[in-house]
């Protein structure tokens, strides 16, 4: 129980800075206990400091869950892009672009009888699209239609 520090000023249990001497699950139990404690305290008409403490606690929890999520994401990213997987991914992206370009050009030529110009132009376009795909897959170029991020509101779901 080393993590339960009694705040000298108020005599409350101080849970805003979780210590790392206890197991993770146990910490959440303690957090939950603290929340209940604070609810009890709220009934004692001390809203200001309580509010502050609750906010502090929420911030700590949010930071914790966010960081653990980010860690998870990074781990997955690393797993997904091992050398072998990465090679397949990037080459697939590039080949996809070229193949679609050639296919479109061939189709265009058949449709309008412009052989070989459609094939030439669409092959070049496909090459460019393949390079774009690779750069996108490697994270060097912004994703599809991500222009809105620059002028804010990246998380706005209503933006169209």
């Amino acid at each position: 129980m080393t993590s339960l520090v009694v705040d000298s000023a108020t005599g409350w249990l101080d849970c805003s800075e979780p210590s790392h001497y206890v197991a993770r699950d146990f910490e959440t139990v303690i957090f939950r206990g603290c929340k209940r404690l604070e609810v009890l305290m709220a009934e004692r008409n001390e809203p200001d400091e309580l509010e502050q403490r609750r906010r502090k606690l929420e911030d700590a929890l949010a930071a914790r869950s966010a960081s653990s999520k980010a860690d998870e994401g990074n781990a997955k990213q690393n797993n997904g892009s091992g050398g072998f997987g990465n090679a397949f991914k990037l080459s697939g992206e590039f080949i996809g672009g070229v193949v679609v370009g050639v296919g479109l050009g061939w189709f265009f030529d058949r449709l309008f009888g412009t052989s070989p110009w459609g094939l030439i132009i669409f092959l070049l376009l496909g090459f460019a699209a393949g390079v774009l795909n690779v750069l996108r897959a490697a994270g060097r170029v912004a994703e599809f239609g991500s222009q809105a991020r620059k002028d804010g509101g990246a998380d706005d779901p209503q933006r169209k």
């Binding site: 996809g96 193949v99 679609v100 376009l125 699209a129």
Partner: protein, 249 residues
């Protein structure tokens, strides 16, 4: 014949069916697709029939699969994207179980057929296009027009973006197909070394230990690839669906 690494991908007609000149035979590929769906469905059904507050082992695996896909979809497409959860979950389970079944010796690997993976990818892209136009009308086309580009080069950029968009089903299907095909061929080739080397006598038997170790190691790797490719397929599906839900976001 036994060591031909390509032989395992041959389609065999089990029940020939022909309707109006179309070959609709029930092949080994069809049989294993049915088996995949049956296995995935049976697992999810049986593991959730005796639901408990404290989950059993099977139930927690099923719940993990659900949570995994649900959080993936929520993270990349937002809560609006959750209406596609059944699609993404079915795709993930199908690809994953098909990959795993393919690892059983003498089983056919459905996902090593480009037409199967291409059909799955077309399903995804078709959903994106249809839903995108249904929801946003012509506003969906904004996806292809990046802002901040000088007006002179906009037609060129749009053409490149359109080709890039159309190449998505290709790269999505080729990635899964190529991974499964290459993995199974490698496995077969290394396993073939073991038999052909050990036919050479005592020295060969000693030498065949190396490819045997490789075969075991690659089998382990293939299990990882089976999961990873299903995961990648699901992640990319989520990303593409995100474009349909919020184009220009």
């Amino acid at each position: 014949m036994a060591t031909d690494p390509i032989h395992q991908f041959q389609i065999a007609k089990w029940i020939p069916i022909e309707v109006g000149g179309l070959d609709l035979s029930f092949t080994n590929a069809s049989a294993f697709m049915v088996a995949t769906v049956a296995a995935a469905g049976a697992f999810l059904f049986l593991s959730t029939t005796n639901r408990g507050l404290v989950p059993s082992r099977a139930q927690s695996v099923a719940e993990m699969a659900y949570e995994f896909i649900a959080s993936m979809l929520r993270d990349s497409a937002g809560t609006h994207g959750m209406k596609f959860f059944p699609l993404v979950f079915s795709l993930f389970m199908f690809v994953f179980v098909a990959n795993l079944l393919g690892l059983v010796p003498y089983f056919f690997t459905v996902t090593s057929q480009i037409i199967v993976t291409f059909a799955l990818a077309m399903l995804v892209i078709g959903t994106v296009i249809v839903y995108g136009f249904m929801k946003h009308g012509l506003g969906f086309l904004k996806l292809f027009v990046p802002s901040g580009v000088p007006a002179v080069v906009v037609p060129l950029v749009v053409a490149i973006e359109v080709v890039s968009f159309l190449s998505r089903p290709i790269s999505l299907s080729v990635r899964l197909f190529a991974n499964m095909l290459a993995g199974h061929i490698t496995l077969k080739v290394f396993a073939g070394f073991v038999t052909s080397l050990s036919a050479l006598g005592a020295v060969g038997v000693a030498g065949s230990i190396l490819p045997l170790i490789m075969t075991v190691a690659i089998t382990g790797l293939e299990f990882l690839v089976a999961f990873l490719q299903a995961y990648v397929f699901a992640v990319l599906t989520c990303m593409y669906l995100n474009d349909a839900v919020h184009p220009g976001h």
